[in-house]
Protein backbone atom coordinates (compact mmCIF):
# COMPACT_ATOMS: atom_id res chain seq x y z
CA UNK A 1 0.00 0.00 0.00
CA UNK A 2 1.42 3.32 -0.95
CA UNK A 3 0.84 5.51 2.05
CA UNK A 4 2.11 9.01 2.00
CA UNK A 5 2.60 11.49 4.77
CA UNK A 6 -0.35 13.40 3.44
CA UNK A 7 -2.69 10.48 3.95
CA UNK A 8 -1.46 10.24 7.50
CA UNK A 9 -2.26 13.90 8.15
CA UNK A 10 -5.60 13.41 6.44
CA UNK A 11 -6.39 10.43 8.65
CA UNK A 12 -5.42 12.36 11.75
CA UNK A 13 -7.65 15.30 10.81
CA UNK A 14 -10.61 13.08 10.06
CA UNK A 15 -10.22 11.05 13.25
CA UNK A 16 -9.92 14.18 15.39
CA UNK A 17 -12.96 15.58 13.66
CA UNK A 18 -14.87 12.38 14.38
CA UNK A 19 -14.04 12.56 18.07
CA UNK A 20 -14.95 16.24 18.17
CA UNK A 21 -18.40 15.66 16.69
CA UNK A 22 -19.46 12.99 19.12
CA UNK A 23 -22.58 14.24 20.83
CA UNK A 24 -22.57 13.42 24.50
CA UNK A 25 -26.25 13.44 25.27
CA UNK A 26 -27.52 11.66 22.28
CA UNK A 27 -24.88 9.07 21.82
CA UNK A 28 -22.37 8.53 24.55
CA UNK A 29 -24.83 8.38 27.43
CA UNK A 30 -26.95 5.91 25.54
CA UNK A 31 -24.13 3.41 25.38
CA UNK A 32 -22.97 4.11 28.89
CA UNK A 33 -19.96 6.20 28.06
CA UNK A 34 -21.25 9.53 29.36
CA UNK A 35 -19.23 12.08 31.24
CA UNK A 36 -20.79 11.52 34.62
CA UNK A 37 -20.10 7.83 34.52
CA UNK A 38 -16.42 8.06 33.81
CA UNK A 39 -15.11 9.93 36.79
CA UNK A 40 -15.95 7.27 39.33
CA UNK A 41 -12.81 5.33 39.92
CA UNK A 42 -10.11 7.33 41.64
CA UNK A 43 -7.54 4.88 42.71
CA UNK A 44 -4.39 3.73 41.20
CA UNK A 45 -6.20 1.64 38.66
CA UNK A 46 -8.54 3.67 36.49
CA UNK A 47 -9.05 0.94 33.97
CA UNK A 48 -9.10 1.01 30.21
CA UNK A 49 -12.66 2.26 29.83
CA UNK A 50 -12.10 5.22 32.12
CA UNK A 51 -8.95 6.10 30.22
CA UNK A 52 -10.75 6.04 26.90
CA UNK A 53 -13.51 8.25 28.30
CA UNK A 54 -10.93 10.66 29.67
CA UNK A 55 -9.21 10.77 26.34
CA UNK A 56 -12.41 11.47 24.44
CA UNK A 57 -13.44 14.15 26.88
CA UNK A 58 -10.08 15.89 26.79
CA UNK A 59 -9.95 15.85 23.00
CA UNK A 60 -13.42 17.37 22.91
CA UNK A 61 -12.46 20.04 25.42
CA UNK A 62 -9.41 21.02 23.43
CA UNK A 63 -11.43 21.14 20.25
CA UNK A 64 -14.17 23.19 21.88
CA UNK A 65 -11.74 26.01 22.53
CA UNK A 66 -11.42 26.59 18.83
CA UNK A 67 -14.74 27.79 17.51
CA UNK A 68 -16.17 25.61 14.81
CA UNK A 69 -12.96 23.69 14.55
CA UNK A 70 -14.65 20.81 12.83
CA UNK A 71 -16.03 23.04 10.13
CA UNK A 72 -12.58 24.36 9.54
CA UNK A 73 -11.08 20.92 9.36
CA UNK A 74 -13.60 19.68 6.85
CA UNK A 75 -13.31 22.80 4.80
CA UNK A 76 -9.54 22.55 4.75
CA UNK A 77 -9.70 18.95 3.70
CA UNK A 78 -12.20 19.48 0.96
CA UNK A 79 -10.78 22.67 -0.43
CA UNK A 80 -7.16 21.68 -0.58
CA UNK A 81 -7.39 21.30 -4.29
CA UNK A 82 -8.82 24.71 -4.99
CA UNK A 83 -5.98 26.80 -3.68
CA UNK A 84 -2.99 24.74 -4.47
CA UNK A 85 -4.08 23.02 -7.63
CA UNK A 86 -3.10 19.68 -6.13
CA UNK A 87 -5.81 17.22 -5.38
CA UNK A 88 -6.16 13.86 -3.73
CA UNK A 89 -9.26 12.54 -5.45
Amino acid sequence: MAFTLYTLIQTAILCTNAVAVLHEERFLSKIGWGVEQGVGGFGDDPGVKAQILNLIRSVRTVMRVKVNSQVRMIVTFLLQGVFTGWHIF
Binding site: M1, A2, F3, T4, L5, T7, L8, D45, P46, V48, Q51, I52, L55
Partner: protein, 306 residues
Amino acid sequence: MDYTASQSGFRQRKLQPSTRLRNSSADVSDGSQLFEDMSGSGPGAYSRNQPAGPQAAWYAGQSFLSDPMSSLAMTYGSSLASQGKDMVDKNLDRFIPISKLKYYFAVDTVYVGKKLGLLVFPYMHKNWEVSYQQDTPVAPRFDVNAPDLYIPAMGFITYVLVAGLALGTQNRFSPELLGVQASSALVWLIMEVLLVLLSLYLITVNTDLTTIDLLAFSGYKYVGMIVGVVAGLLFGRLAYFLSLLWCCAAIFVFMIRTLRLKLLSEAAAEGKLVRGARNQLRMYLTMSIAAAQPVFMYWLTYHLIR
Protein backbone atom coordinates in the same frame (compact mmCIF):
# COMPACT_ATOMS: atom_id res chain seq x y z
CA MET B 1 40.15 60.08 -7.45
CA ASP B 2 40.72 60.61 -3.76
CA TYR B 3 38.77 57.53 -3.09
CA THR B 4 40.86 55.34 -5.30
CA ALA B 5 44.06 56.77 -3.92
CA SER B 6 43.04 56.04 -0.36
CA GLN B 7 41.86 52.54 -1.28
CA SER B 8 44.94 51.62 -3.20
CA GLY B 9 47.08 53.13 -0.49
CA PHE B 10 45.32 50.93 1.98
CA ARG B 11 46.08 47.86 -0.02
CA GLN B 12 49.62 48.79 -0.91
CA ARG B 13 51.18 46.00 0.98
CA LYS B 14 49.47 43.38 -1.15
CA LEU B 15 49.99 44.09 -4.83
CA GLN B 16 50.60 46.85 -7.35
CA PRO B 17 47.45 48.42 -8.74
CA SER B 18 48.26 47.31 -12.28
CA THR B 19 48.60 43.70 -11.30
CA ARG B 20 45.60 44.26 -9.09
CA LEU B 21 43.67 45.12 -12.25
CA ARG B 22 44.74 41.92 -13.94
CA ASN B 23 43.76 39.98 -10.86
CA SER B 24 40.37 41.57 -10.84
CA SER B 25 39.76 40.72 -14.45
CA ALA B 26 40.74 37.16 -13.67
CA ASP B 27 38.38 37.27 -10.73
CA VAL B 28 35.57 38.43 -12.93
CA SER B 29 35.58 35.26 -14.94
CA ASP B 30 35.42 33.18 -11.77
CA GLY B 31 32.00 33.85 -10.29
CA SER B 32 32.77 32.65 -6.79
CA GLN B 33 35.68 35.02 -6.40
CA LEU B 34 33.28 37.88 -6.91
CA PHE B 35 31.81 37.33 -3.50
CA GLU B 36 34.67 35.96 -1.49
CA ASP B 37 37.50 38.28 -2.22
CA MET B 38 35.90 41.69 -2.15
CA SER B 39 39.14 43.34 -1.13
CA GLY B 40 40.74 42.15 -4.33
CA SER B 41 38.09 43.13 -6.79
CA GLY B 42 36.92 46.30 -5.12
CA PRO B 43 39.41 49.02 -5.75
CA GLY B 44 40.53 47.51 -8.99
CA ALA B 45 37.09 47.91 -10.47
CA TYR B 46 36.43 51.23 -8.89
CA SER B 47 39.55 52.79 -10.20
CA ARG B 48 38.31 52.10 -13.67
CA ASN B 49 35.59 54.63 -14.21
CA GLN B 50 35.10 53.87 -17.89
CA PRO B 51 35.66 50.19 -18.58
CA ALA B 52 35.50 49.31 -22.25
CA GLY B 53 34.37 46.25 -24.09
CA PRO B 54 32.12 43.39 -23.03
CA GLN B 55 33.24 43.53 -19.43
CA ALA B 56 31.17 46.62 -18.76
CA ALA B 57 28.34 44.63 -17.28
CA TRP B 58 30.69 42.72 -14.94
CA TYR B 59 32.30 45.92 -13.74
CA ALA B 60 28.95 47.48 -13.11
CA GLY B 61 28.06 44.57 -10.92
CA GLN B 62 31.37 44.77 -9.13
CA SER B 63 31.02 48.46 -8.42
CA PHE B 64 27.73 47.70 -6.71
CA LEU B 65 29.53 45.40 -4.34
CA SER B 66 32.51 47.59 -3.78
CA ASP B 67 30.31 50.40 -2.53
CA PRO B 68 30.92 50.79 1.22
CA MET B 69 27.20 51.04 1.87
CA SER B 70 26.62 47.65 0.37
CA SER B 71 29.42 46.14 2.42
CA LEU B 72 27.69 47.54 5.47
CA ALA B 73 24.49 45.96 4.23
CA MET B 74 26.31 42.67 3.83
CA THR B 75 27.54 42.67 7.43
CA TYR B 76 24.11 43.65 8.68
CA GLY B 77 22.56 40.89 6.65
CA SER B 78 24.98 38.31 7.99
CA SER B 79 24.32 39.41 11.56
CA LEU B 80 20.59 39.08 10.89
CA ALA B 81 21.18 35.62 9.52
CA SER B 82 23.13 34.55 12.60
CA GLN B 83 20.37 35.93 14.82
CA GLY B 84 17.82 33.98 12.86
CA LYS B 85 19.93 30.89 13.17
CA ASP B 86 20.12 31.32 16.96
CA MET B 87 16.37 31.71 17.14
CA VAL B 88 15.78 28.61 15.03
CA ASP B 89 18.18 26.62 17.20
CA LYS B 90 16.48 27.72 20.37
CA ASN B 91 13.00 26.94 19.11
CA LEU B 92 14.01 23.70 17.51
CA ASP B 93 15.33 22.52 20.81
CA ARG B 94 11.87 22.92 22.28
CA PHE B 95 10.24 20.56 19.81
CA ILE B 96 12.97 18.06 19.10
CA PRO B 97 15.26 17.52 22.06
CA ILE B 98 18.60 17.63 20.34
CA SER B 99 20.60 16.91 23.46
CA LYS B 100 18.57 13.81 24.16
CA LEU B 101 19.02 12.68 20.59
CA LYS B 102 22.76 12.82 21.00
CA TYR B 103 22.56 10.08 23.59
CA TYR B 104 21.00 7.73 21.10
CA PHE B 105 23.73 8.23 18.56
CA ALA B 106 26.63 7.66 20.94
CA VAL B 107 27.55 4.31 19.48
CA ASP B 108 30.69 2.68 18.32
CA THR B 109 31.53 -0.19 16.03
CA VAL B 110 31.70 -2.84 18.73
CA TYR B 111 28.24 -1.92 19.97
CA VAL B 112 26.77 -1.95 16.47
CA GLY B 113 28.28 -5.33 15.75
CA LYS B 114 27.02 -6.83 18.99
CA LYS B 115 23.58 -5.34 18.59
CA LEU B 116 23.20 -6.60 15.04
CA GLY B 117 24.21 -10.04 16.21
CA LEU B 118 21.69 -9.75 19.00
CA LEU B 119 18.93 -8.78 16.61
CA VAL B 120 19.51 -11.82 14.48
CA PHE B 121 20.33 -14.31 17.23
CA PRO B 122 18.98 -13.27 20.62
CA TYR B 123 18.75 -16.74 22.10
CA MET B 124 22.07 -16.92 23.90
CA HIS B 125 22.00 -13.53 25.57
CA LYS B 126 21.42 -13.83 29.27
CA ASN B 127 21.31 -10.40 30.82
CA TRP B 128 18.86 -8.02 29.22
CA GLU B 129 18.84 -5.23 31.75
CA VAL B 130 19.94 -1.75 30.90
CA SER B 131 22.62 -0.64 33.31
CA TYR B 132 22.22 2.74 34.90
CA GLN B 133 24.72 5.24 36.10
CA GLN B 134 23.31 7.45 38.84
CA ASP B 135 19.77 7.40 37.53
CA THR B 136 20.61 8.05 33.92
CA PRO B 137 20.89 5.21 31.50
CA VAL B 138 24.37 4.46 30.31
CA ALA B 139 25.22 5.45 26.76
CA PRO B 140 24.81 2.73 24.15
CA ARG B 141 28.54 2.62 23.71
CA PHE B 142 28.92 0.94 27.08
CA ASP B 143 25.83 -1.21 27.28
CA VAL B 144 24.63 -3.50 24.56
CA ASN B 145 21.09 -3.52 25.94
CA ALA B 146 20.52 0.20 25.60
CA PRO B 147 18.38 1.36 22.66
CA ASP B 148 19.98 3.53 20.03
CA LEU B 149 18.81 5.36 16.96
CA TYR B 150 21.80 4.74 14.76
CA ILE B 151 20.85 1.23 13.71
CA PRO B 152 17.20 2.12 12.97
CA ALA B 153 18.18 5.19 10.97
CA MET B 154 20.76 3.34 8.92
CA GLY B 155 18.42 0.40 8.58
CA PHE B 156 15.66 2.59 7.23
CA ILE B 157 17.87 4.17 4.61
CA THR B 158 19.34 0.80 3.65
CA TYR B 159 15.85 -0.62 3.40
CA VAL B 160 14.84 2.08 0.94
CA LEU B 161 17.94 1.46 -1.14
CA VAL B 162 17.54 -2.31 -1.08
CA ALA B 163 13.88 -1.90 -2.05
CA GLY B 164 14.97 0.17 -5.02
CA LEU B 165 17.49 -2.50 -5.92
CA ALA B 166 14.88 -5.24 -5.67
CA LEU B 167 12.45 -3.30 -7.80
CA GLY B 168 15.17 -2.63 -10.30
CA THR B 169 15.91 -6.30 -10.79
CA GLN B 170 12.29 -6.76 -11.73
CA ASN B 171 12.29 -3.79 -14.10
CA ARG B 172 9.74 -2.02 -11.99
CA PHE B 173 12.01 0.77 -10.87
CA SER B 174 11.58 4.48 -11.33
CA PRO B 175 13.10 7.22 -9.16
CA GLU B 176 9.75 8.23 -7.72
CA LEU B 177 9.32 4.76 -6.33
CA LEU B 178 12.20 5.35 -3.94
CA GLY B 179 10.31 8.27 -2.46
CA VAL B 180 7.10 6.26 -2.36
CA GLN B 181 8.79 3.39 -0.52
CA ALA B 182 10.46 5.74 1.92
CA SER B 183 7.34 7.67 2.78
CA SER B 184 5.24 4.54 3.01
CA ALA B 185 7.65 2.86 5.42
CA LEU B 186 7.92 6.08 7.41
CA VAL B 187 4.16 6.34 7.70
CA TRP B 188 3.88 2.78 8.95
CA LEU B 189 6.59 3.48 11.48
CA ILE B 190 4.88 6.63 12.74
CA MET B 191 1.55 4.85 12.97
CA GLU B 192 3.07 1.99 14.89
CA VAL B 193 4.75 4.32 17.37
CA LEU B 194 1.52 6.29 17.83
CA LEU B 195 -0.49 3.13 18.37
CA VAL B 196 1.98 1.86 20.95
CA LEU B 197 1.90 5.23 22.71
CA LEU B 198 -1.88 5.20 22.72
CA SER B 199 -2.06 1.72 24.14
CA LEU B 200 0.55 2.56 26.77
CA TYR B 201 -1.59 5.51 27.80
CA LEU B 202 -4.75 3.47 27.92
CA ILE B 203 -3.31 0.75 30.10
CA THR B 204 -1.70 3.34 32.40
CA VAL B 205 1.54 1.55 32.68
CA ASN B 206 4.23 3.43 34.53
CA THR B 207 7.31 3.02 32.50
CA ASP B 208 10.35 5.01 31.61
CA LEU B 209 10.04 4.25 27.94
CA THR B 210 10.22 7.49 26.02
CA THR B 211 8.89 8.11 22.54
CA ILE B 212 12.37 7.93 21.12
CA ASP B 213 12.89 4.56 22.80
CA LEU B 214 9.76 3.29 21.09
CA LEU B 215 10.98 4.70 17.82
CA ALA B 216 14.26 2.86 18.28
CA PHE B 217 12.57 -0.43 19.10
CA SER B 218 10.26 -0.14 16.14
CA GLY B 219 13.17 0.62 13.89
CA TYR B 220 15.05 -2.53 14.77
CA LYS B 221 12.88 -4.60 12.48
CA TYR B 222 14.43 -3.00 9.41
CA VAL B 223 17.52 -5.11 10.01
CA GLY B 224 15.51 -8.32 9.63
CA MET B 225 13.74 -6.95 6.59
CA ILE B 226 17.00 -6.12 4.88
CA VAL B 227 18.43 -9.56 5.61
CA GLY B 228 15.30 -11.17 4.18
CA VAL B 229 15.19 -9.10 1.04
CA VAL B 230 18.89 -9.50 0.33
CA ALA B 231 18.66 -13.26 0.80
CA GLY B 232 15.66 -13.27 -1.51
CA LEU B 233 17.55 -11.31 -4.13
CA LEU B 234 20.55 -13.57 -3.97
CA PHE B 235 19.00 -16.97 -3.61
CA GLY B 236 15.35 -16.79 -4.61
CA ARG B 237 11.98 -16.92 -2.93
CA LEU B 238 12.65 -19.89 -0.70
CA ALA B 239 15.64 -18.20 0.84
CA TYR B 240 13.56 -15.06 1.31
CA PHE B 241 10.88 -16.92 3.21
CA LEU B 242 13.31 -18.88 5.33
CA SER B 243 15.44 -15.93 6.32
CA LEU B 244 12.37 -13.79 6.95
CA LEU B 245 10.97 -16.51 9.19
CA TRP B 246 14.22 -16.67 11.12
CA CYS B 247 14.42 -12.91 11.50
CA CYS B 248 10.76 -12.67 12.52
CA ALA B 249 11.28 -15.20 15.28
CA ALA B 250 14.43 -13.42 16.37
CA ILE B 251 12.76 -10.01 16.51
CA PHE B 252 9.80 -11.51 18.37
CA VAL B 253 12.05 -12.96 21.07
CA PHE B 254 14.16 -9.81 21.18
CA MET B 255 11.18 -7.53 21.67
CA ILE B 256 9.60 -9.71 24.31
CA ARG B 257 12.77 -9.99 26.31
CA THR B 258 13.48 -6.28 26.06
CA LEU B 259 9.97 -5.02 26.72
CA ARG B 260 9.33 -7.46 29.51
CA LEU B 261 11.77 -5.63 31.72
CA LYS B 262 10.37 -2.25 30.89
CA LEU B 263 6.64 -2.81 30.90
CA LEU B 264 5.92 -5.49 33.41
CA SER B 265 6.28 -5.20 37.12
CA GLU B 266 9.34 -6.58 38.82
CA ALA B 267 7.89 -9.86 39.93
CA ALA B 268 6.34 -10.72 36.62
CA ALA B 269 9.50 -9.83 34.78
CA GLU B 270 11.40 -12.46 36.64
CA GLY B 271 9.14 -15.16 35.34
CA LYS B 272 6.83 -15.74 38.25
CA LEU B 273 3.18 -15.88 37.37
CA VAL B 274 1.53 -12.86 38.91
CA ARG B 275 -2.23 -12.78 38.84
CA GLY B 276 -4.22 -9.63 38.36
CA ALA B 277 -5.89 -7.88 35.52
CA ARG B 278 -3.24 -5.25 35.17
CA ASN B 279 -0.40 -7.62 34.74
CA GLN B 280 -2.41 -9.62 32.29
CA LEU B 281 -3.11 -6.54 30.24
CA ARG B 282 0.53 -5.63 30.29
CA MET B 283 1.51 -9.08 29.18
CA TYR B 284 -0.98 -8.89 26.33
CA LEU B 285 0.42 -5.52 25.35
CA THR B 286 3.96 -6.82 25.27
CA MET B 287 2.87 -9.82 23.23
CA SER B 288 0.97 -7.73 20.74
CA ILE B 289 3.78 -5.25 20.26
CA ALA B 290 6.19 -8.09 19.67
CA ALA B 291 3.75 -9.88 17.36
CA ALA B 292 3.15 -6.77 15.30
CA GLN B 293 6.79 -6.67 14.27
CA PRO B 294 6.77 -9.81 12.08
CA VAL B 295 3.50 -8.66 10.54
CA PHE B 296 5.07 -5.35 9.54
CA MET B 297 8.19 -7.07 8.36
CA TYR B 298 6.22 -9.27 6.02
CA TRP B 299 3.91 -6.48 4.93
CA LEU B 300 6.70 -4.14 3.94
CA THR B 301 8.76 -6.66 2.01
CA TYR B 302 6.53 -9.15 0.28
CA HIS B 303 5.86 -6.93 -2.68
CA LEU B 304 9.57 -6.66 -3.33
CA ILE B 305 10.07 -10.34 -3.98
CA ARG B 306 8.02 -11.71 -6.80
